[in-house]
């Protein structure tokens, strides 16, 4: 996952549902570490639609 920092309100909702606890919610940024498998769950609930998922075809 990638976060559009212009939209993200740094609420941390995405991190609370991540099954692999990959998301770090800092004061200035929100990002996933290497363990992210792009499952897309976090994107489903982001209240402002800031999460982008890279789909591997």
């Amino acid at each position: 996952m990638k976060v559009d920092t212009n939209i993200c309100i740094r609420c941390g909702a995405c991190a609370s549902v991540c099954p692999v606890n990959a998301i770090e919610v800092a004061d200035a940024y929100v990002r996933a570490d290497k363990s992210c498998n792009n499952c897309g769950i976090c994107a489903k609930l982001c209240p402002v639609g800031a999460v982008m998922i890279e789909r591997k075809l």
């Binding site: 309100i9 740094r10 609420c11 941390g12 909702a13 991190a15 609370s16 549902v17 991540c18 099954p19 606890n21 998301i23 770090e24 919610v25 800092a26 004061d27 769950i41 489903k44 609930l45 982001c46 209240p47 402002v48 639609g49």
Partner: protein, 379 residues
């Protein structure tokens, strides 16, 4: 609250928060009853009170209004709409005044372990990386709740157990009655949740929406824009702040303690599943956690055997309530728009003064016998 309580009880306390400014960004509708403040000895202060409320108005999908006048309404007694940007700082200040050390702008990014034992936290701050050794770690890291997960406690939420919320702080809007909190229901406006208008005076309010994440088709903020546009009194206003967040509505985690660790507030999912209110319970549980942790440290035994007193005490105080709210939420989720409208219609003109959830349910049952079976077990 934990920091204040633990310092008071004689412990040496360090309060870490990743935020450089406490309370910012706001992730909250900011409604709080007066009762928890009184119980916890916190004097209401005009610096962090943006509005005072004494009634609740529920608006059904077709627009029928049910008014619940004053006191003991859904959120408890007469309450406040806070300014959490000031309130959160005020709570930290209370802890600091008692003697707690406070470090803001400090992100906890891992646990410090002595073998299998939790021995503190790792963090990064203005001063670079640091390790803090502690006998007890209190994880009060909000909805994100990573600390507990690092310790092996599963706090990961399922999409059915979290409301996705977006909120505008708006000015230049029409507020009919600044002392009334409004809740709007209906699957069109907000699937599996509600929209709210919490007044901050005559022409300003927190206008927000919460949607069950599993039922969400678009980002919550899009539903919020639709809601605002559908209300002429709001549409004419201006948005001066956009915020939001996730509200856990699946009830508390089954176990909130471990050797050297206590889990508090949103991190432990101690939230009223029906209203989404969690300030009250986070403060109460936080206070208990601080007291128990300090006592354990003083006794030299910080094992889970000693720390489980925390869970025992908060469950005694709030456990039953959490269960009932959870059940009530499930009933609400199961109701169709037609059922909600029928209920609202039946409740027109019903005298609602001095109502509690129990009394309210009794009235619901009377007016809508069909709901009886759904509501059973709630009383």
């Amino acid at each position: 609250m934990s920091a204040r309580a633990a310092t008071r009880a004689g412990a040496e306390v360090l309060l870490l928060d990743k935020r450089r400014e406490l309370g910012v960004p706001v992730q909250c509708g900011e409604a709080l009853a007066e009762e928890p403040l009184l119980d916890l000895g916190i004097k209401p202060n005009p610096r962090w009170i943006a509005g005072e409320v004494n009634a609740v108005r529920l608006i059904s999908p077709s627009g029928l209004e049910v008014s619940i006048a004053e006191k003991k309404a859904v959120h408890g007694k007469v309450g406040f709409i806070l300014d959490r940007k000031v309130f959160d700082k005020h709570l930290a200040m209370l802890a600091a005044k008692e003697g707690a050390d406070v470090m803001v702008g400090t992100l906890v990014d891992g646990l410090l372990m002595d073998g299998k034992k939790i021995a503190g936290v790792k963090a990064s701050s203005f001063d670079g990386r640091m390790e803090v050794r502690a006998k007890v770690v209190i994880a009060a890291d909000g909805v994100v709740s990573r600390v507990a997960r690092w310790a092996g406690v599963n706090t990961t939420l399922k999409l059915v157990d979290i409301e996705s919320c977006a909120q505008f702080q708006m000015v230049g809007i029409d507020i009919k009655s600044p002392e009334v909190m409004e809740y709007y229901f209906g699957s069109k406006i907000t699937p599996g949740g509600y929209a709210w208008v919490f007044p901050k005076g005559r022409d300003m309010a927190n206008v927000g929406i919460g949607i069950l994440s599993s039922r969400m088709q678009r980002p919550a903020i899009d539903y919020l824009k639709d809601f605002v546009n559908s209300m002429p009194g709001l549409k004419k206003g201006r948005v001066i702040e956009i915020n939001g967040g996730g509200v856990p509505v699946g009830g508390p985690i089954p176990k909130t303690f471990k050797d050297n660790l206590l889990i508090v507030g949103d991190a432990a999912r101690q939230v009223n599943a029906l209203t989404g209110g969690g300030i009250d319970s986070a403060m109460r549980a936080g206070n208990i956690a601080g007291e128990v942790a300090a006592k354990a440290v003083a006794s030299g035994d910080v094992s889970e055997k000693k720390l489980k007193e925390y869970e025992k005490r908060w469950r005694e105080q709030m456990g039953k309530r959490f269960k009932r709210y959870l059940k009530a939420k499930e009933v609400l989720l199961s109701m169709s728009d037609e059922e909600l409208d029928r209920l609202a219609k039946a409740l027109q003109g019903v005298e609602f003064e001095k109502i509690s959830l129990t009394d309210m349910l009794k009235v619901f049952m009377k007016v809508s016998p069909k709901l009886m079976w759904k509501l059973k077990g709630l009383m």
